[in-house]
Amino acid sequence: MSAKRGYWVIILLVVSSLVGLLVAGCRPTTAPPTEVPVAQDTRGTLLMRGSKSSFPQNFNPLLYDVRLWLYDGLVRFDQDLKPIPDLAESWEISDDGLVYTIKLRRGVKFHDGVEMTADDVIYTAQLTLDEKVNSPYRSKFIIGGEPVKWEKVDDYTVRAILPQPSSSFLAKLSRADEIFFTILPKHILEKCADMETCDFNQHPVGTGPFKLVEYVPDQRVVLEAHDDYFQGRPGLKRVVRLAYPNEQAALAALKSGELDVAALREAGNVNAAEADPNLTVYRYDSNWIMAARFNMANPILQDIKVRQAISHAIDRLSLCKAAIGPTTNIGDSPISIGWAASPNVVRYEYDPEKAKALLEEAGWKVGSDGIREKDGQRLSLTITFDPDYGKPDLATGMQQFLKAVGIELKLQQMEPATAEETIYVKKEFDIYLDWQGFGVDPDIASRWSTSTAEQGTYLSNPSNYANPEVDAAFRAAEIARTVEERQKYLWQAQDLITRDAAAVWLYLWQAQMAVSKNVGGLSLPPSIADMDNTAIFREPWKVTSTRP
């Protein structure tokens, strides 16, 4: 009996572990990549590093950012960020700015071969407006409290009737950073009882240049050319988005020729890619700008002299180059690039002496520990941020610059969800550090208007900034009939916001894409970056690759 006892223990231990191994072994997580032989197809394959958002796991653009090349909007954007036709062929806007008559291209095919018509456009609009569908874009089509009305004129013409003029409406018929209005197939989606759990979400069908053939969650997404694409047969046979655990791994793969395209952020990796003769690094700025915004409800910060002093005390360019990377550029206002960027904004140059003088004027005198004081109160402020996008380094640098002029800056770093709630919902901050700006259409009024101050979202104005003139300018810009008119009011708004020194404007999100020599047909010069850095692929159907 005692001899058996010992074996029992061992057998039990070994068996229990083996069971685990067997369970694992019997169910491989990855199927071997399927090779689809294409006769006489000499087009190449493009291997891209997929970002988080290109591994959507859900391919329904109503529910999820699908940053792949599966879908098209009615409108796309040219180099200057002006809308140009995509699935739409042309449009007419009535004189009162209320009726948009949109002609559609003929002969556009979905991936399953069915033709796209006005019915699909109307259906997509209805789904977007459906309260039961969890689309985040519904409110984009509610203008002045009322929904946009959509009508089918004939199979290739639709009409959108706006409750009031809206200069940003056309841009909403696109896929950009802020909106995904891409045309979906009615004949498939109308069979779905529940959009949340629809089979379409895993087996998407769009009109885009590529269609989904395989995806392994968090590992790869394989797309294949949609040969009936309306702009012509795509130049690539296949696009594979691969997950790499980190930038170093992606760089190693680029250098060894296992990967064609990857976005890089770390300066060391960018340098390494530039030094490689087989790689080219493309670089372009975006309209996303990191800014430190002041809480106007804070008694210290209510004094414009203090805000101006802080703006002058920081060497923004050096700070951002050190914290983010040597090629980083800074901006001076909420709109930096494109037709809407005002040339007349107030720029705050690095001038610590001026900062000190402003603080003296405001009554803040240097105290015994080097920090300024007024009426027994120390000039001490807190900056709130999460750890992403170099914010900790930026905040630390700002702390040093401000200390030099006698301002104490305390750092309050929070985990993203907590930071988001603290800043946007509770509004408990003196200064917060986060992205401002936009992807393509400069519809930024909600971040600066008084009336949106209570909202609690990323789009809101948590800093209690209130300037009736700014409100009026944004309202006028929204109902403007022409781009020129809209531009005039947007410029005015920026000039006022910068005159108020409402924020310290820091760096522009810069895409740095390393691309191998295999790849051709890029859209050069690249237009501005979206957060997914894919602007050199503005026309993905033209891209080619020599990789078999």
């Binding site: 685990g20 369970v23 309260e131 039961k132 969890n134 968090d218 988001e420 990323y458 789009l459």
Partner: protein, 320 residues
């Protein structure tokens, strides 16, 4: 004995219940709102109207206890719900990730246990030898070094410096290696790190327990009988020293499950730990609950296994 086993088994049910209740409560109490963060499109997208509407559609505006009861009812029916982030069934997501985790944990468990016991026995048998000193010092070190640090050092050395092993993931998309070699290469670093986490405990417990049983009268008797030292060590001392250390199984499973959260995240291992960690950051409540529940089941199962083994090896309990 069977009643004891049955009791242990039944006790697991209220434990799971309490675990689910507590994790649901803590999760909901933590700041952060998935609807605002990403369900409504995240940054620069959803307006208040969109956020409130989606929150209502998903039932996230109901009181927490109502949400918990709804979750519990569905879970008891075998429906773990849908991920807020991806809108895919939680059960399906977990099923995809489970094999990667179980194989990682299984191999690590087996390795750490066998190597740990081996080293522990040798170290005790040669107490105060150089080997014993080295083992004691290393075990002390291993106990103090955090797993994530070990993981990063291993990546730095073997992937970045030497370039021998991949930095993460389970397999390569394109490789000249055979699939088995490719998998093996990917397993080395995570398995090593995860094994080290529990190896140290196995060594220390086995060494202590072995030293204790070497002092027992029956060992002296066995030696006095003139048995070979190998027989004395293995049959008499080691076998008896196993009784206290089988309880380490439960502890070790808990260690592996907990450790896998960190290790999988560092190595981009497509398993449950990484899934849970991502879900935690995203406040993806249904996925978090699913992963937590499964982790709790693993740990409870580990403890149950330890109890059963303990009963089997300990006649005092077995016969009562």
């Amino acid at each position: 004995m069977y009643r004891l086993i049955l009791r242990r088994f039944l006790l697991a049910i209220p434990t799971l219940f309490v675990v689910s209740f507590l994790s649901f409560g803590i999760m909901k109490a933590a700041p952060g709102d998935p609807v605002r963060m990403y369900v409504a499109g995240g940054m620069s997208k959803g307006s208040v109207e969109d956020i409130e509407r989606i929150r209502h559609n998903l039932g996230l505006d109901r009181p927490i206890y109502v949400q918990y009861i709804a979750w519990l009812r569905n879970t008891l029916r075998g429906d773990l719900g849908y991920s807020l982030a991806t809108r895919r069934p939680v059960a399906q997501i977990i099923a995809e990730k489970l094999p990667a985790s179980i194989s990682l944990m299984g191999i690590s468990f087996l390795l750490s246990m066998t190597i740990g016991i081996g080293i522990g026995v040798l170290s005790a048998a040669k107490q105060y030898s150089l080997f014993d000193y080295v083992v004691t010092v290393l075990a002390f070190l291993g106990n103090s070094l955090p797993a994530f640090w070990i993981a990063l050092m291993l990546i730095w050395l073997f992937s970045v410096r030497l370039g021998w092993l991949p930095t993460g993931h389970m397999s390569s998309y394109e490789t000249t290696d055979s699939p088995i070699l490719d998998y093996a290469k990917h397993y080395v670093l995570p398995v090593t790190t995860l094994s080290l986490v529990s190896l140290v405990s196995w060594v220390r417990y086995q060494r202590a327990s072995m030293l204790e049983s070497l002092q027992q009268d029956y060992v002296r008797t066995a030696r006095a009988k003139g048995l070979a030292e190998r027989v004395v060590l293995i049959r008499h001392a080691w076998r008896n020293s196993l009784v206290p250390i089988v309880t380490l199984i439960g502890f070790s499973v808990a260690n592996l499950v907990g450790g896998s959260y960190i290790i999988e995240t560092i190595f981009s291992w497509p398993g449950m730990g990484q899934l849970g960690f991502d879900a935690l950051l995203k406040r993806d409540y249904p996925v978090m609950m699913g992963v937590t529940l499964l982790s709790a089941i693993f740990i409870i199962f580990g403890n149950l296994l330890a109890d059963l083994t303990y009963i089997l090896v300990n006649p005092q309990i077995r016969e009562s």
